[in-house]
């Protein structure tokens, strides 16, 4: 049973410290964050095979580098920073090797659709989502698929929380406006 449910009651910082003493506790962190990390990576790279590779690399790196994490309270943003770096390396490598995505298991624009009653606006939403740049897609993936808090996203990007909020809000506003056209 690996589901991303309410884990706010679990003290992640304590769990990180427990894991530093005994790495076997890492399994718990893995169970808690696998789906969220995977969702973020898959949303970005769009095919399962690459997402699995990058997700494996992310967790293995995290396990091996946990001692380098200075502040256990920042585990979540640290973990997603690793995932982000892996994805960036992947994209850089793809560009360098002139590789094109051969299979697209996930289409980003199809991950978000209007609620019932507004299905006829689906096309407009998709058009808008297509126009999002990579940074904006990442924000959406972090917030609504990896379920990070604004604070955690701010830590990853090293920007104020208010900046993250306003960026996401602007995207949502545009999406919402497309429904009212």
């Amino acid at each position: 049973m690996r589901t991303m449910q309410d884990h706010t009651e679990i003290d992640i910082s304590q769990l990180v410290q427990d894991t530093r003493r005994d790495p076997k506790h890492f399994g718990t962190l893995y169970c808690l964050y696998l789906n969220r990390v995977y969702a973020y990576i898959l949303g970005l790279v769009r095919n399962h095979q690459d997402a699995e590779d990058l997700c494996s690399e992310t967790f293995i790196t995290a396990l091996k580098s946990l001692n380098q994490l200075r502040d256990p309270n920042r585990f979540v943003s640290w973990l997603f920073s690793i995932a982000r770096n892996k994805c960036m390396d992947y994209f850089r490598s793809s560009v360098r090797n002139n590789q094109r995505l051969v299979r697209e298991d996930v289409v980003f624009e199809e991950l978000i659709e209007p609620q019932n009653g507004l299905q006829d606006k689906k096309f407009l939403v998709q058009e808008l989502l297509k126009k999002l740049n990579q940074d904006e897609k990442e924000l959406i993936l972090w917030k609504y698929f990896a379920e990070l808090t604004f604070g955690e996203i701010a830590e990853i990007l090293n920007v104020p929380v208010s900046t993250v909020k306003s960026r996401i809000y602007r995207i949502l506003e545009r999406m919402s406006a497309s429904l009212e056209d």
Binding site: K24, Y30, I60, K64, E110, L111, P114, Q115, L179
Partner: protein, 483 residues
């Protein structure tokens, strides 16, 4: 507050299809197994060495030798074959577009009978490798063995550049920086508060001497990736299972295992060969572990003494997807053997053990146990002592403890059963777990089950599933000679 409402209002207009981004269960399970394996390895390394504790009172007690290794991806490595790329003794494989630099002279700092000694360093355009050690009689016993409630120093050192910028100990140092400060807030792995803190030494670098040997790395990778067939040898003695009678009724289907041993690359120095041994293994739906260390025999059948040199070749991804949706596992070793009186060819041998699902036909794949824990409080412990059959194998639930996060369960298993998963059905969220295949400490298994329900359920149902068994160990052999 208003802003939160606005967000919510807009969010609710959309359907966020989160389920489209869930990982495949088989992948999740495989990765979990690999992490367990790596966590076990990390745990083993983290245990204080008993011998060093004894010797600590006499001489050097702890040598926290830290070799910072930059992991270079394969494409990067091959793209750089044109520039400096080779094996430097004590430092492993390095590549650099700029000339290498080394430590000008050894530096030390002493405090309260403990000495920080930086003995060697090698710098390239994208890596820094520093060999340092904390030495001293005081670094023994309680100073390096944390008791419950005590914290160990997790610092790994940092470098301060001339402009005040702080970088990690393995990060590249700019080419024009030949004098930097190396700092340690505390001694790595020492118990906090029990050893002097605030260490700082100045390191000076100079161009590597012209005579410094950078050995050529001979890559033996072929484009075709045609597996080199290995010869399977029979074990010298029949390996007995712990309880043969417990598994006598099993009628396992034959399992096809594949294992490829190969020397991926090697370095020849004046006195030795340094081999990068790679093991690729595959077993349908299962998992293979290498047991022990490889053994190398020369042509006369003499077992060679192996050294495990500092530094490594490029790291391999531990799992590689196959076309059939399964995974090939990778393990690798860096081994050094002396060339003196060496009779070629060599025979490389190792032993593996594999784990596969039990899959007993005609038996249920899940079993259930109900428990009433009454008014359970955190740290309440209950003796259960219940026997359950899972796919015909015996599992004993010994006891349950209520924890801050959920439940801790102790179980015992018998026969060839190696592992199983355990869930608490009533728990929301992450309500279960299992050691995964390849867990090497039967007959006991402890489970941490996480439960986000508040309060925790009083009556719980344990669901046992995914039984796996351990196959008999197998031995593998490959012949090799340098080109």
């Amino acid at each position: 507050m208003e802003e939160k409402k606005d967000f919510q209002k807009i969010e609710e207009k959309f359907n966020w299809k989160k389920d489209d981004l869930l990982p495949d269960e088989a992948f999740a399970s495989k990765l979990e197994q690999e992490l367990i394996r790596q966590a076990q390895a990390t745990t083993c390394q983290a245990k204080p060495n008993r011998a060093s504790l004894v010797w600590g009172a006499l001489a050097v007690a702890m040598a926290a030798l830290f070799l910072a290794i930059l992991i270079i991806g394969p494409q990067k490595v091959y793209a750089r074959l044109q520039k400096l790329f080779g094996y430097v003794e004590n430092f492993g494989v390095v590549s650099s577009e700029t000339p290498l630099r080394v430590l000008k002279k050894e530096v030390t700092q002493s405090k309260e009978g403990i000495t920080l000694r930086v003995s060697e360093a090698l710098l390239g355009d994208d890596f820094t490798r520093i060999h340092y050690a904390f030495e001293g009689e005081k670094l023994a016993g309680e100073v390096i063995t944390a008791m419950p409630g005590e914290d160990s120093c997790r610092e790994r050192g940092e470098i301060v550049l001339s402009d005040g910028r702080v970088i990690g100990i393995s990060e590249p140092i700019p080419e024009d920086e030949n004098r930097v400060e190396l700092r340690f807030a505390c001694i790595p792995d020492a118990v906090m508060g029990k050893a002097p803190e605030g260490w700082s030494v100045w390191l000076e670098f100079e161009a590597a001497p012209e005579g410094m040997q950078v050995h050529q790395v001979r890559s033996l990778v072929t484009e075709t990736r045609e597996p080199i067939r290995v010869t399977e040898t029979l074990p010298e003695t029949e390996i007995q299972t712990e309880r043969p009678e417990a598994t006598a009724e099993l009628t396992p289907a034959p399992v096809e295992e594949e294992l490829v041993l190969k020397i991926k690359e090697y370095v020849e120095t004046d006195v030795s060969y340094i081999l990068h041994l790679v093991i690729e293994s595959y077993i349908p739906n299962g998992w293979t572990l290498m047991t022990g260390i490889p053994k190398i025999l020369d042509a006369n059948g003499t077992e060679l003494v192996l050294q495990f040199p500092d530094g490594k070749f490029e790291l391999l991804s531990p799992i590689e997807p196959r076309n059939d949706g399964e995974y090939t596992q990778h393990d690798s070793w860096t081994l050094e053997i002396s060339k003196q009186n060496l009779a070629l060819p060599l025979r490389i041998q190792l032993e593996s053990v594999s784990f596969v699902p039990l899959m007993q036909e005609a038996l249920p794949k899940e079993s259930f146990v109900s428990l009433d824990l009454g008014q359970a409080q955190v740290n309440s412990a209950f003796i259960v002592d219940k026997t359950v059959l899972l796919e015909g194998e015996v599992i004993v639930i010994d006891n349950v403890t209520v924890t801050e996060y959920g439940y801790q369960l102790s179980t015992r298993i018998e026969g060839k059963l190696n592992a199983f998963d355990l869930e608490v059905e009533e728990c929301n969220g992450v309500g279960g777990g299992g050691p995964g295949m390849g867990w090497f400490d039967p007959p006991s298994h402890d489970f941490s089950v996480f439960c986000s329900n508040s309060p925790l359920p009083r009556e719980i149902t344990l669901k046992l599933s995914n039984a796996t068994k351990r196959l008999d160990p197998r031995q593998w052999q490959e012949e090799w000679s340098p080109e």
